[in-house]
């Protein structure tokens, strides 16, 4: 093989030309990106997602929030394979209606959290390829956050970052909210306003470095008075 035909990657143009017809292969999964951040505090829980839906280098839409109000004190955030998100959330909504009519009461965040783990594990060998975060208020009115892996491992946290920017944002939250590696720690507990500020800041940071996070965020604030929401613009690129 003439060296001039070799590319740095180690294959040659002539090999490419002789490769024969290109075969498409079906893959049932795609990564549609998106990030979720949730924070639990005393008397509140916050959960936010970006609004960008992508495949590869294309943006499908700039206006697709990834949060689902499950009831008056629980919100679910999902990102990953969007077709699985759509199917999984419909199943959850149906199961929650069944629960409500059977027990004459709303599901508690803890019950939702357990049900989600069971639903995810029911597809252990053909998983919903989704990063899930549940935020809500427990029976004492305190914020709770549950995070999951795609096959149903459930963990209760005080804060969590999931989705395409999860690995980028979690250490930031560990420092700013978990107060790890901090020389001088604040003495007062985390306030709602401070938590909101941190969430908005971390999303701005994520949008700078992650192409799958951007366009805007939707932030849901869960308190004993119910759920309110805020939105903010992010990089539109």
């Amino acid at each position: 093989m003439a060296m001039s035909l070799m590319r740095p990657g180690g294959f040659s143009y002539s090999e490419l030309a002789n490769a024969g017809p290109v075969q498409h292969h079906f893959s049932p999964y795609t990564d549609n990106g998106g990030s979720i951040v949730a924070v639990a505090g005393k008397g509140f829980a916050l959960i936010a997602s970006d609004t960008r839906l992508s495949t590869g280098y294309s943006i499908l839409t700039r206006d697709q929030p990834k949060l689902y109000d499950l009831n008056s004190n629980t919100v679910l955030g999902c990102s990953g394979c969007w077709c699985d998100v759509l199917s999984e959330t419909r199943l959850i909504e149906a199961r929650m209606k069944l629960y409500k009519h059977e027990h004459q009461k709303e599901m508690s965040p803890g019950a939702v959290a357990q049900m989600l783990a069971t639903i995810l594990y029911s597809r252990r060998f053909f998983p919903y390829y989704v990063s899930n975060v549940v935020a809500g208020l427990d029976a004492n009115g305190q914020g709770v956050v549950y995070s999951y892996d795609p096959v149903g491992h459930c963990d209760q946290n005080l804060f969590h970052a999931g989705g395409s920017s999860g690995a980028l944002l979690q250490p930031l939250l560990d420092n700013q909210i978990g107060l790890l590696n901090m020389e001088i720690k604040p003495t007062e507990p985390l306030t709602l306003e401070r938590a909101k500020g941190i969430i908005k800041d971390v999303f701005i940071s994520a949008a700078e470095r992650d192409i799958y996070t951007g366009d805007g965020i939707l932030l849901k604030i869960i308190t004993k008075d119910g759920i309110t929401q805020e939105s903010m613009k992010l990089r539109h690129d």
Binding site: W82, C83, L86
Partner: protein
């Protein structure tokens, strides 16, 4: 064929022929690749409706196999769908959708399939097939009208692909259109609406025409003949007669290096 029991009546048998055994068929085959395919489809929301566009070509690889295949379908007076991908899968789904529309019509109760419900239905059908690893190799745009929270009629434009990925937006293009046409459509909409202006039906048609021309020039699987559907929020949807891009190849002789 004679046998020990006497003459065989096999040739005249009215019994149901037996299926070949599973072993003889080999492993079950599923669609892993599309065959006759259509390329990009475009959808654009204007103030008071949606415009859809698709060319009339079904390619067989790089062969222009069927040059007069409509890829737009009017489901009822205010719902139109457009399809990219395997044309056979499109026709299969069309046969089901047409039957749904007829059944709905026979009810004669004044209700029809809405774009939103058809979009949702397609989502479930395509997701179910992908879960069986037997996808319908298609991407659909569904256009029509919807009810907003105040019960007002608004425009609806939705996307569903072979995995069941679905969303709605005012600007959607599939395939090469997502790379070549989406930026043009976004630019046109932003320019028209930035000072509180509106995109009219004619504006939308003009933008779509530009995009179809760009796609014909740059997408090797696109065709010069294409159709446009206009779906006004109030009023009846129509699919216009096919139009043709008049290619201008004046600069072609200037291109060098591919001899």
């Amino acid at each position: 064929m004679a046998n020990a029991q006497g003459p065989s009546f096999e040739r005249f048998s009215t019994s149901i022929p037996t299926m070949p055994s599973a072993a003889a068929l080999g492993p079950m085959k599923r669609t892993q690749t599309p065959v006759s395919t259509g390329t990009s489809v475009l959808g654009l929301r204007y103030d008071g409706g949606i415009v859809l566009a698709a060319d009339t070509l079904a390619s067989y690889g790089s062969l222009l196999r069927y040059r007069d295949c409509t890829r737009l379908h009017k489901v009822n007076d205010n719902t139109v769908i457009a399809c990219m991908g395997d044309y056979a899968d499109f026709q299969y789904l069309l046969s089901i959708i047409e039957q749904k529309a007829i059944t709905e019509d026979c009810m004669d109760d004044g209700f029809n399939i809405t774009a939103r419900s058809l979009h949702s239905w397609l989502t479930r059908v395509l997701y179910n097939k992908r879960c069986k690893f037997d996808p319908l190799w298609t991407t659909f745009l569904v256009a029509g009208s919807d009810m907003d929270d105040d019960g007002q009629k608004t425009e609806f434009l939705g996307y569903v692909d072979k995995l069941g990925t679905a969303y709605k937006d005012g600007i959607i293009a599939t395939g090469y259109g997502s790379m070549l046409a989406t930026p043009l459509m976004r630019e046109a909409v932003e320019a028209k609406t930035k000072d509180g202006g509106q995109l009219t039906e004619q504006d939308a048609i003009n933008v779509i025409n530009d995009c179809m021309k760009i796609l014909y020039y740059r997408d090797a699987r696109a065709h010069f003949r294409y159709e446009i559907a206009v779906i006004p929020t109030t009023g009846s949807a129509r699919i216009e007669a096919p139009v043709e891009v008049k290619g201008d190849w004046q600069v072609a002789h200037l291109i060098r290096g591919y001899e």
